[in-house]
Symmetry: C2
Subunit: 331 residues, 2 copies
DNA sequence: CTTAAAAATGTAAACGTATAGGTTTTTATT
DNA sequence: AATAAAAACCTATACGTTTACATTTTTAAG
C-alpha cells in the first residue's frame, strides 16, 4: 500500500498538497491537481483510515459499533439490516458484536470498540443497568439504545410499545374465548420482557379475569426455553388453552413442543407471540404474531446515531414505534 | 482516554518502560512494574488499537472482515455465528459487511476493510471471478473463501459438496416415484448454483430419465424469486410433481406459492431444497432439506484464516464438508 | 575495589495523516 | 514598476504506539 508520501514524491509536490487535493481541494492549481490525481491513480493510492483516525480524533472514523445480544434471533438480524442500510448510505462501516447474552463477552467487545475509537454505538444493553454500556456513555461516546433503555440515563432510545403490543394480543385471545392464557417470558431482567408481562396482566385483569402465576414461565429468550417451558405448561394438570410467547425463538420452540404432543392448533391450544417473520405464513399453522418493525428500529437508531455524532449536544430522544397484531391461523 | 504518555508521567517512568510492562514484560523491575500497573489502573488506561495498528503493520490488529452476500439468509447467519465464536476465542473482532449482492457496495466495503488494515478476510465472493476480492488477494491479504471459490486462484476455501447434496436429494425424489422434477436455481453465476444443477442433472440422467430444461428456473437466490418462479412452474400446462429448490429463501418463497394455490404437499407437489433451518420442522409440512453444516463452515473458515494470518506461507487448503439429507414430510 | 556483563530504563524515530503557520509565486491595484 | 493581496505550496508537528539503540544501574566475577 502506497502512502501520501509516495504520491507526493511521484507527483513532485509536498504531502500537504496531496492532502489538500484529496480533501476539500481549495487553493490548489488545476495543473497540480491533475498531476496529483494521476499519481494517485498510478499508485492505486488508498488513504489509511487508521492514520486518519489517529491524527484527528475529532474527525470521523466512519465506523460504528453494533452490539446485539443474539444474532441467531431473526429480530436482531432485521435490526442489523436497518442499521446497515443507513450506515452504508452515510459511508459508515459496522463492527458487529454479538455478545450472546454473556456479559464477559460484552465487556471484551466494548473494550475493543473503544480502543478502535469508533464514532458511535448502537446497543441493545444486557439489561437496564448495564455497566459496560453506561461506562462508554459516561466517557462521552455517542450511543443509541435499541429494544431497551438505560435507567436514569439520558440517552437516545428506540423501542417498541411492548406493553401495548402484548395487551392487544392477549386481549384478542380473550375476546376469542380463550380462558387459560399462559405467558412464556424471555429473560426476566430485560425491560421488554417486563413490559410484555405488564400488557399480558393488564389485558387479563381488564377483562375481569384473574392472573394465574402458575401460567407465567420465565426463560432465557432462546429456542430451547420455548421448548422446555411449553412442555411444562402442557404437562400441567390443568393446562392452558392458549399461549402468549415472549419472542420469536420462544414461539418456535413452543410450536415444536405442541407438534410433538400432536395437539391441534388453535383448537386444543392457541398460540400467538412477539415477532413476526417473513416465513411465519408458511408455518403450521400460519402463525399469528405481534409484529415489531425491526428493520425500522434499526434504521431509526442509525439515523439518530448519525445525528448525534454530528451534534453531540442535541438532547436525547426516546422514540417509540408501534407494533401490529398480524392475525393468521394460530389463534 | 489517557495515553501511554499519561501513564508514563504518572508512574514516573518512560513510555518505553510502560510499553514493556504492557507487552511482553521482559527486562522490567518488579517494583517498577507495580508502579506502572498502578498508574494504568488509576487512569483506566486502554491502549489505542488504532495507534498500534499504525505503528506496526506486521503486528496484529485483531480485526477480521467478513464479507457476505445476504445477511437476511439464515445460512449466512449461521456461518457468521461460527466465525464469530472462533474469532472471539482468539480475541478477534469482526467487521461485518453485507453487500447484498451489490458489487458497488461490495467494492466500497472491501476498500474500507483494506483501509482499516484488517488482518484477514472471510469472504463469500459475488462470483468466481470477483475482481474486488481477487484484488485484495493479490495485495497479499490473508483470505478464506466460503461457499464459493475463486477460479484459478490458490486460496483457502471452505465449501460444501453441493453437487452430491443435490444429487442425493433429487435421487431420493426419483426413487420416491416423482417423475417431473423442477429445479429453482439461485443466481446462475455463483458456483454453488452450478454444482447443485449438476447434481440435479446427473441424478435425473443416472436414473434413465431426461432433463427437461423447461423445468429449470433461474432466479436471484432470494425469497421473491422463489415465490415467482414457483408460480411460473405451477402455471405450466404440464406442471412438475416435485420441486428441488436452490436455497432456503427460495424454498420458503416456493412454499408460500404452493400454499397460496392450496396444493397439498407432498401429494400434489413435493418439495425439498438446500439449507435446513432450526424451525424447518415447524413448517407446514415439516420440511425435508439438504442440511449444510453452516456453523461449521464459519468455524472452519475462521480457523483457517487465523492459521493463515500467523503463517502466510502455508499452502492453501480446500476443505469440502458434507451435506446431509434430512427427511421429513415434504417429499 | 575494579571491571565486565547483565539488567533496567530511557531516547528518538517511525507508521500515515491533517493542519497551523510560514514561504513563495501569481495576480491585481495604484 | 512597486506594492499589496491572494493563491499556491511547503515545513514541521502531533496523534499513540513499538522498537532499535543508547544509556544508566545493578550484579557478578576477578
Amino acid at each position: 500500500m502506497s502512502s501520501l508520501n509516495d504520491v507526493a514524491r511521484r507527483a513532485g509536490v509536498s504531502i500537504a498538497t496531496v492532502s489538500r487535493v484529496i480533501n476539500k481541494g481549495s487553493n490548489v492549481n488545476e495543473e497540480t491537481r491533475a498531476k496529483v490525481l494521476k499519481a494517485i491513480k498510478e499508485l492505486k493510492y488508498q488513504p489509511s483510515r487508521v492514520a486518519k483516525r489517529l491524527r484527528s480524533k475529532s474527525a470521523s472514523s466512519n465506523l460504528i459499533g453494533l452490539l446485539i445480544p443474539d444474532i441467531q434471533n431473526p429480530f436482531y438480524v432485521d435490526v442489523l439490516r436497518g442499521v446497515e442500510d443507513v450506515a452504508y448510505e452515510n459511508n459508515y462501516a459496522i463492527i458487529m458484536c454479538n455478545f450472546a447474552q454473556d456479559e464477559k463477552k460484552e465487556k471484551m467487545y466494548l473494550d475493543i470498540l473503544q480502543q478502535e475509537s469508533i464514532d458511535g454505538l448502537i446497543a441493545a444493553p444486557a439489561h437496564e443497568k448495564d455497566p459496560n454500556v453506561i461506562k462508554l456513555l459516561n466517557d462521552g461516546l455517542p450511543i443509541v439504545c435499541v429494544d431497551r433503555g438505560l435507567t436514569g440515563k439520558d440517552v437516545d432510545v428506540v423501542v417498541v410499545n411492548n406493553r401495548d403490543g402484548a395487551y392487544v394480543a392477549v386481549d384478542h385471545l380473550i375476546k376469542s374465548g380463550y380462558k387459560r392464557i399462559a405467558y412464556i417470558s424471555g429473560q426476566k431482567q430485560i425491560p421488554s420482557s417486563k413490559y410484555r408481562e405488564m400488557g399480558y396482566r393488564d389485558a387479563i385483569e381488564d377483562n375481569g379475569m384473574q392472573v394465574d402465576v402458575e401460567l407465567i414461565k420465565y426463560g432465557d429468550s432462546k429456542h430451547r426455553s420455548g421448548v422446555e417451558l411449553c412442555e411444562e405448561l402442557l404437562a400441567m394438570a390443568n393446562p392452558p388453552d392458549a399461549i402468549f410467547t415472549g419472542n420469536n425463538l420462544i414461539t418456535l420452540g413452543a410450536l415444536e413442543t405442541i407438534h410433538k404432543r400432536e395437539l391441534r392448533i388453535p383448537e386444543e391450544v392457541a398460540i400467538v407471540g412477539f415477532d413476526d417473520m417473513m416465513w411465519s405464513i408458511s408455518l403450521n399453522p400460519p402463525l399469528s404474531a405481534v409484529r415489531q418493525p425491526a428493520y425500522e428500529i434499526g434504521k431509526r437508531a442509525c439515523e439518530l446515531l448519525i445525528q448525534r455524532i454530528s451534534d453531540p449536544k442535541r438532547s436525547p430522544i426516546q422514540m417509540t414505534l408501534n407494533t401490529k397484531l398480524i392475525l393468521r391461523k394460530s389463534c
